[in-house]
């Protein structure tokens, strides 16, 4: 009955005192000599092992996949799911608690929170973890329903009513916005609309209200989350949303109503971007966007949500900067494209700028030269570091007439060199911000067509999924370092293989989404990815993004930008190390799927 068994070590922290006692009563301690097999690959496990001291290697097909250390445990899969495959071998003198299978299985059934740790799917595990954290920080506010926020009442007025009538109705109902019925449409009129009409435009008080209201009303459902409302406000630059319930308009949500619940201010940023008159005006806003990333993270908002909010704001920023820096000739003919992680909407902490310019026809050479220089340096001034691969507007191969660009794409596919696979990948994630988005649509159409034209082209493209893996060497080495003092590169070991594999599938299946999670969703929807694999990939991706954001913020804080994707396993909790193992296992399975699917063995 070892008292020294650490009941605070997850997942045992989910057990109550009586359950811990049951466990303690039943456990033994095993010693394993270096090289001794603790769990054989082809035999069902009889114990759940928790390492007291020593080091254990998880091997699969003769390769070391993970190294486990004190407090790590193995192996939930072998014990509960009887999944064969992994072999656990003592790498040095190792002592383990031996928790008998029967007791552990019984506890997983009687205690769901404990049982969650033994789920075989990382996605379910993460859900279970998230439940445990509910009510913490702002996450709970963002996850609050719109109905929980303070709503303005839904007051309707006829479109033919006068401005004066509207003002009275507002006063009577203590609100500063009304719904306006006009034929089949419903608009919104605000106190500010009325004031501007009367004071700025000298309209008479008898003017029908339909002339001063606006009809581009954005609506949310009462059961939607606050975060949905916040995203809509940010995206549409609205400070007010109509709120529906069962299809009926029941109220109005103002940003101030959310502010009561939530401490952020991302909905105020678009207005500031819109009002900016110079690059200098944008500078503070740009740094606010960045500062917000850190704050939202501290408040416990999930990395994928932070990325979504940040991308929306950054795209507005890019669009505005384009307006401010481009000469008329380029404004009318140009399409600014944002590529790479920014295009996928997955950039939180700025790493570099990947952007380009497509123009519908020739423009004056001096305009182009001046703009290339100005735009790239302006972005740098706003805190977006230059792209080391020079994939920027200032590089002529990334800013040219669309026809030439399409010819160039075909060249990249047909006669690849060492850079072209990266170029194609970055371009595949491009989105257009601001004007003339059809130019990018044409370019991407061409990219999709030429890549899908011949299997070998797509295979060449997909091949990069192995870029950081070698032939079972590099990635395995990275995985093996989990549990050691060496840091592991999350981008190379996990994020890139998922992003690129999914990107390859997306091109093959003609998926136009650019975000990795959105692509996964769509691919699963059309049956190109199995539902289970899709869920696991999404879970693994979210978890890796979360760790990445943490390492990025740490790297910024310590002024060590090279380490932005590095994470030291020793700085993770036991639970996080376990999840990281799961995530990397998913990545490995997925890479094998990609290899088989695109027939990469032939290379």
């Amino acid at each position: 009955m070892p008292q020294s068994f650490d009941s605070r070590n997850p997942p045992f922290d989910r057990l109550n005192a009586a359950e811990i006692d049951t466990l303690r009563q039943g456990m033994d301690i095993g010693y394993f000599a270096p090289g001794q097999v603790i769990v054989a690959a082809d035999q069902p496990a009889q114990f759940f092992h928790v390492i007291i001291k020593g080091m254990v290697e998880e091997r699969r097909d003769g390769e070391v996949e993970h190294v486990l250390e004190a407090k790590d445990s193995f192996d939930a899969r072998a014990l509960i799911h009887g999944k064969p495959g992994s072999e656990f071998v003592a790498a040095e003198e190792t002592l383990c608690y031996l928790l008998p299978k029967d007791i552990v299985v019984e506890l997983t059934q009687s205690n769901p929170a404990f049982g969650a740790f033994f789920y075989s799917e990382i996605s379910r595990k993460l859900d279970a973890m998230a439940q445990g954290r509910e009510g913490q920080g702002v996450e709970s506010v963002l996850r609050a329903r719109i109905s929980e926020a303070r709503l303005q009442p839904a007051v309707f007025i006829d479109g033919t009513a006068t401005i004066k009538d509207a003002a009275m109705a507002m006063q009577d109902n203590h609100t500063n916005a009304l719904f306006v019925r006009e034929a089949e449409r419903v608009g919104v009129v605000t106190g500010m609309n009325l004031a501007k009409a009367v004071l700025n435009k000298a309209k008479a008080g008898t003017t029908p209200v339909k002339e001063v209201c606006h009809f581009d009303v954005v609506a949310v459902d009462k059961d939607d989350f606050i975060i949905d409302a916040l995203l809509l406000m940010t995206r549409h630059n609205k400070r007010r949303l109509a709120v529906r319930e069962d299809g009926e308009l029941v109220g109005m949500l103002e940003d101030i109503g959310i502010l009561g619940l939530f401490a952020g201010n991302s909905q105020l940023i678009p207005g500031r971007i819109d009002r900016a008159k110079s690059i200098a005006d944008l500078e503070t806003t740009a740094s606010d966007i960045q500062a917000q990333v850190e704050r939202l993270h501290r408040q416990g908002v999930k990395a994928d949500l932070i990325a979504e909010i940040t991308s929306d704001l950054n795209r507005r920023l890019f669009a505005k900067l384009f307006e401010l820096t481009a000469p008329k000739s380029i404004l009318s003919k140009g399409c600014l494209m944002i590529m790479g992680s920014e295009g996928r909407g997955e950039q939180t902490v700025r790493t570099d700028q990947d952007n380009g310019l497509l123009i519908s026809g020739p423009v004056a050479e001096e305009d182009l030269i001046a703009f290339r220089k100005l735009f790239t340096s302006a972005l740098e001034r706003l805190g977006f570091p230059p792209c080391p691969g020079n994939i920027m507007v200032r590089n002529p191969i990334w800013s040219m007439p669309v026809e030439d660009f399409i010819r160039q794409i075909k060249g990249w596919v047909i006669a690849p060199d060492e850079n072209t696979p990266m170029y194609l990948a970055i371009l595949a994630d491009a989105i257009a911000v601001g004007r003339n988005p059809e130019l990018l649509s044409r370019a991407k159409e061409a990219l999709f067509d030429v890549l899908r034209g011949e299997k070998i082209h797509l295979a060449h493209f997909a091949k990069a999924v192995d870029m950081f893996s070698g032939s079972g060497g590099m990635l395995n080495a990275l995985m093996a370092s989990v549990g050691r003092e060496d840091s592991i590169n999350l981008k190379k070991a996990g994020i890139f293989p998922i992003v690129h594999g999914i990107r390859s599938y997306a091109i093959e299946k003609g998926v136009r989404e650019t975000g990795t999670l959105a692509r996964i969703d769509e691919l699963a929807g059309m049956g190109a990815l199995e539902a289970d694999m899709a869920k696991e990939l999404a879970g693994a991706f979210r978890f890796l993004m979360e760790l990445r954001l943490r390492s990025q913020l740490a790297a910024v804080k310590h002024g060590n930008p090279e380490a932005e994707a590095d994470i030291k396993p020793s700085e993770l909790t036991t639970l996080e190390r376990d999840l990281l193992r799961d995530a990397l296992r998913v990545v490995k399975e997925f890479r094998e799927l990609v290899r088989a699917h695109f027939n990469l063995r032939m290379f």
Binding site: M1, P2, Q3, S4, Q25, G26, M27, D28, I29, G30, Y31, F32, A33, P34, G35, I52, K53, E57, V64, V67, A70, A91, E92, E93, L95, L98, P100, M474, A477, A480, S481, R484, D486
Partner: protein, 229 residues
């Protein structure tokens, strides 16, 4: 030789024949890790106040069937000892006297070898009671864990090498996690962990390096696979 003769005689003088099993040949192949907490360090004056015993079979420490008992002391608990084991008079007041604990303990141990840290002390504490109740001393073979450590660490050391055989020093040297010392069960468990490690090192002919002082244990096994790039 002396022990053998004494045991042979004891076998016949044992007062309670139901304990003759102590002289049976051990066929379990198990070892028992034993630790006593006492009111002090003089076996003639002081009493056992708690005792823990854990069986070890091969490389497995059978904690799930360990023996743990608090004992009501006959002698007064002395303040200096209380500071060590942190058991107060009132903690042991409700415990059973040794006369009731001993039969269960002896049946638990059987004729298995008894292992521990400074095991002679624990054994002489127990022998006081065993002698009183059965008229003999415990015949079980003794295994001293610090001796196993000494062999691995200093067995080939030149004369004059400084020895350090303290319990906590051995623990650190074997990289075992710290425990609440002076809890009989925890102490017996720690000794058991040391025992399985040291016994295996002996079997593999591996020594503990002295140069690093407290530090790494050389595995001496095949070099670990490289994980580098």
């Amino acid at each position: 030789m002396f022990r053998f003769i004494r045991h042979t005689i004891d076998r016949f003088v044992i007062q309670d024949t139901s304990f003759k099993f102590l002289y049976d040949r051990d066929e379990t192949g198990e070892v028992v890790s034993l630790d006593c907490e006492t009111t002090g360090f003089d076996p003639w004056i002081d009493d056992v106040i708690s005792v823990a015993a854990i069986k070890i079979k091969d490389n497995r420490i059978l904690t799930h069937q360990s023996f743990n008992a608090l004992v009501k002391p006959e002698a007064e608990m002395r303040p200096e000892a209380m500071k060590v084991h942190r058991l107060l008079q009132r903690d042991v007041a409700s415990a059973k006297p040794m006369a009731e604990v001993l039969p269960d303990l002896l049946r638990f141990i059987g004729s298995r070898p008894i292992m521990g840290y400074w095991i002679d002390f624990d054994m002489s504490m127990l022998d006081k009671y065993v002698l009183h109740h059965l008229g003999v001393r415990l015949p079980n073979e003794r295994v001293e864990v610090s001796k196993l450590y000494y062999d691995r660490k200093y067995g080939d050391a030149p004369q004059g090498t400084q020895l350090d055989l303290r319990f906590d020093v051995i623990r650190k040297d074997l990289k075992l996690p710290p425990i609440n010392q002076h809890d009989a069960h925890e102490d017996a468990l720690l000794a058991a962990k040391m025992y399985v490690i040291l016994k295996d090192m002996k079997a593999r002919g591996v020594r503990i390096p002295r140069t690093a002082g407290i530090g790494g244990v050389s595995t001496g096994a095949a070099p670990r696979p490289m994980h580098g790039f």
